[in-house]
Amino acid sequence: MPKPYLVCRSDELKDGDRRVMSCDGTEVGVFKVDGQFVAWHNECPHRSGPVCQGRMYKRVLEPIDSDGHVRALAYDENVTNIVCSWHGYEFDLKTGANQGTDKIKLRKVKLEEKDGHIYVVV
């Protein structure tokens, strides 16, 4: 039966912060990104790597100018990716969608914010 786990006070997490934890053996990552809380299973859909313990990067873009030329890479300041440290699979931290294919997604964990505290239900 699903059970709530107390993560921390809501105001403890600033944008870009995380808590990666084991809930009686089920590993979960809770993140604050662009003012929003999200929670994912700490298991990469690629090969079960510890995806929530990966580094975060803004998504990389390559702008094309009006002549069809490219000159430099750029960061998309609106999309934060979490990168699985095992093999580099990148996921949109807010949606869980893989950058390369929409067939691969992080597995969501139910998250509740109540009385100024964050809970995950696993």
């Binding site: 059970k3 709530p4 510890p50």
Partner: protein
């Protein structure tokens, strides 16, 4: 209605994995996966894992035989702090492997190691073996794999010989589970022969390695005595692939992704083509040749291409009494990694074509960015358990003459 009991989670020790994280923590999920699949009872050999020899380069250069070169190397490392490793040529791509730090274990394993009774790399290798679920791990160098393109062939000789000796003294003597394919300074055949003579039968040395990144013709007459000597030892000869941006055929490739995808297959495709068409399997029928770190998808491509062309031009390959693909199937072995597994139907066909049941050998390539776990094999839906056991360890036990008793501690 009762309020649900609220659990208290336990925070993981590494909130963000970086180069200082203990590799047992990095690979914790691998260990769980191995336990779930009962790999404790399976004999698993990792035919291709790596360490970063340049971390210990100031030690390695002390094994250079030439006294003048040895002194130069020692002084260089003493006086030039932060300088690149003495004598190595290297490659630009080495800076790009971790995708800008996204895959930290590729950049370095700087974890704490308390045990000073053995070399640090022994401890790191033991941690990797017990995390992945591996009984025997074959350890390869990393930047040294480019030495075949070094402008000074004598440097390949000095450094390969020094490294082979360092490896024996520091790693192989410390742990029976660590195995090694002695590195051959292949651009100088008589020196490669000397390595075979000196190392055959030495503890932990179970075969020979030719770094494939080079432009040497593997069919040249100057190598025939070397192959004959290796055939006589009964140990396998391997070609370990690697890219290099100085390869003219790859110079237009501007993304490391493309360089890695092509560059790790290309030299083995070239060498294997020459190996087969010049009849090496006919001339050395007992010589076991392993193609390492090119993945396996290239093999069916090459089999089909060579068969197609051979039947139209058999007079150009008169040694061959069978199709090239049959020699590739019966006289060659292949390591799995990086196993192309996004299309299972294609993978099944590949495994069938290369006769994976007897010819395929598991390899992790840990700690590189595209490492594979043993579960890549155990989870394949179309193989029998016996075939999985063969790929994971029993094929290696056969060709390397290893005791197939599991000894790991999962």
């Amino acid at each position: 209605m009762n309020q649900p009991v609220v659990g208290v989670p336990q925070m993981l020790p590494a909130q963000v994995i970086d180069t200082s994280t203990d590799s047992r923590e990095i690979l914790k999920h691998a260990r769980v996966a191995a336990r779930r699949r009962n790999l404790q009872d399976w004999f698993v050999v990792d035919v291709d894992a790596h360490h970063v020899e340049t971390v210990s380069w100031n030690e390695v250069v002390q094994y250079i035989e030439d006294p003048v070169i040895r002194d130069q190397a020692i002084y260089f490392h003493k006086d030039r702090i932060g300088a690149p490793p003495y004598g190595l040529n290297g490659d630009l791509g080495l800076r790009y492997q971790s995708v800008g730090g996204r895959i930290p274990h590729q950049d370095g394993l700087r974890e704490k190691v308390d045990d000073v009774s053995v070399h640090r790399d022994v401890t790191l290798t033991r941690r990797a073996m017990d995390s992945l679920g591996v009984d025997n791990m074959v350890v390869f160098p990393t930047p040294m794999l480019f030495l075949g393109l070094h402008p000074q062939p004598e440097m390949e000789v000095w450094l390969s010989r020094a490294y082979n000796k360092w490896m024996q003294e520091k790693l192989l003597s410390a742990d029976n589970r660590i195995k090694f394919l002695a590195v051959l300074p292949y651009n100088t055949p008589e020196e490669a022969e000397r390595v075979v003579k000196e190392t055959a039968g030495k503890k932990g040395i179970i075969g020979y390695a030719i770094p494939s990144t080079r432009h040497a013709p593997v069919h040249h007459n100057k190598y025939m005595r070397l192959y004959s000597m290796i055939e006589e030892t009964g140990m396998p000869l391997s070609f370990h692939a690697g890219y290099h941006w100085d390869d003219p055929s790859l110079k237009t490739v501007n993304r490391f992704l493309g360089m890695h995808a092509l560059g790790f297959a290309w030299p083995n495709i070239v060498h294997c083509t020459n190996w087969i068409l010049n009849g090496m399997p006919v001339r050395f029928p007992k010589l076991k040749v392993i193609w390492i770190e090119s993945g396996i998808a290239w093999a069916p491509f090459l089999m089909q291409r060579l068969d197609d062309q051979f039947l139209m031009r058999p007079s150009e390959a008169p040694h061959l009494k069978r199709l090239p693909s049959e020699y590739m199937r019966d006289h060659c072995w292949y390591t799995t990694q990086p196993m192309e597994s996004n299309n299972l139907k294609a993978l099944e066909c590949t495994l069938d074509m290369i006769k994976a049941d007897t010819q395929l050998l598991y390899a992790s390539d840990w700690p590189h960015f595209d490492f594979d776990l043993p579960s890549e094999i155990t989870d394949l839906p179309f193989l029998s358990e016996q075939t999985k056991r063969n790929i994971l360890g029993l094929n290696a036990a056969r060709i390397f003459n290893l005791d197939p008793t599991p000894v790991k501690q999962l």
